[in-house]
């Protein structure tokens, strides 16, 4: 039994939200914010991804196993990046005696 899909209006709003976020990310990139540039770019990308995930991919109305599957993918990528960075960020130069 299929549930009723969201309205056409809801879809258009989602697209407009994505378009707005796209404009925002290009706009913010033009300012020199140092490390915040990367953070802003990724944060906005994250928001876009959330719109696609929760609205277009219907995570909002999905069951628990599906939500876990979505989480696990990103979480395990986070583990890969975090522990790898844990090495690269804590390297000290070799001391030559």
């Amino acid at each position: 039994m299929s549930e009723k899909p969201p309205s056409l209006r809801a879809h258009v709003l989602a697209l407009l939200a994505l378009a707005f976020l796209l404009a925002a990310t290009v706009f913010v990139a033009r300012f020199h914010l140092g490390a915040l540039n990367a953070f802003a770019g990724l944060a906005i990308a994250g928001l876009k991804a959330l719109v696609v995930l929760f609205f277009f991919m219907k995570l909002k109305t999905s069951g628990t196993p599906v939500r876990f599957a979505a989480c696990f993918g990103f979480a395990w990528l986070a583990i890969l990046i975090a522990l790898t960075l844990g090495d690269f960020l804590t390297r000290t130069p070799l001391v030559v005696h």
């Binding site: 039994m1 879809h11 258009v12 990310t25 876009k48 277009f56 993918g73 395990w76």
Partner: protein, 214 residues
């Protein structure tokens, strides 16, 4: 609920179980895709941390207007495929089929823009392993940027191509009446795959096109 319109494979007890399995299976596959592309994002993170200036310089070589258009094209294509699915869920057929075709067309437009970009890169000689003529202190590390750029966009492009083929096949099948509001797992899964392709690009865009633009 029209039972006769839903073919249930013999290993399943009923249509609901079949649907549940199809959806969970697709999401499990998408999780593997996140990790597959994730390696390239992890490599990018490390290399950019090691060579921030080289990455900024490399990013300035990318075509920002074309990249922005590409992103807009893919975001719109997620919109059209979601609408296509909505139409099928409401009992539609013709409009849905055309929306699938529209999504596929946007995918082809995306690939065409990439083609333009790659051609320009070849002219500018920034393709490591093929034609790379950058000089200066940042040039060696900039190759890391470009290697990751090409591996990422080529793998992504491959996934877009596969998606386009799937979308066209689905468009054909929708038009032929193969689906109903209660039985369209293949369409849902195709749409999920397409949205993932969009999500990967959502992250590619700021990382490769928006660095050092200030």
């Amino acid at each position: 609920m029209t039972a006769e319109s839903t073919r249930v494979a013999e290993q399943f007890d009923d249509a609901a179980q079949q649907r549940e399995a199809a959806t969970l299976g697709m999401w499990a596959f998408l999780a593997t895709e996140i990790l597959f592309f994730g390696v390239l994002f992890a490599a990018y993170t490390v290399c950019r941390l090691l060579w921030p200036d080289a990455f900024a310089s490399g990013s300035r070589h990318t075509d920002l207007p074309l990249g922005t258009v590409e992103t807009a094209v893919l975001l719109t294509s997620s919109f059209t495929v979601a609408l296509a699915l909505r139409d099928v869920q409401l009992g539609g057929r013709r409009v849905a089929a055309w929306l699938f075709v529209a999504t596929a067309t946007l995918g082809v437009v995306f690939l065409a823009i990439h083609g333009v970009e790659y051609h320009a890169d070849y002219e500018a000689a920034v393709i490591p392993g093929l034609r790379y003529e950058e000089v200066g202190p940042l040039a060696p590390a900039k190759q890391l940027f470009f290697i990751l750029y090409y591996v990422t966009t080529l793998f992504h492009g491959l996934h877009v191509t596969i998606g386009v083929v799937l979308l066209l096949v689905m468009a054909w099948r929708v038009r032929a009446g193969a689906f109903s509001p209660d039985d369209h797992s293949a369409l849902e899964n195709t749409a999920l795959y397409w949205h993932l392709v969009d999500i990967v690009w959502i992250f590619v865009f700021p990382l490769y096109y928006l660095v050092g633009r200030a």
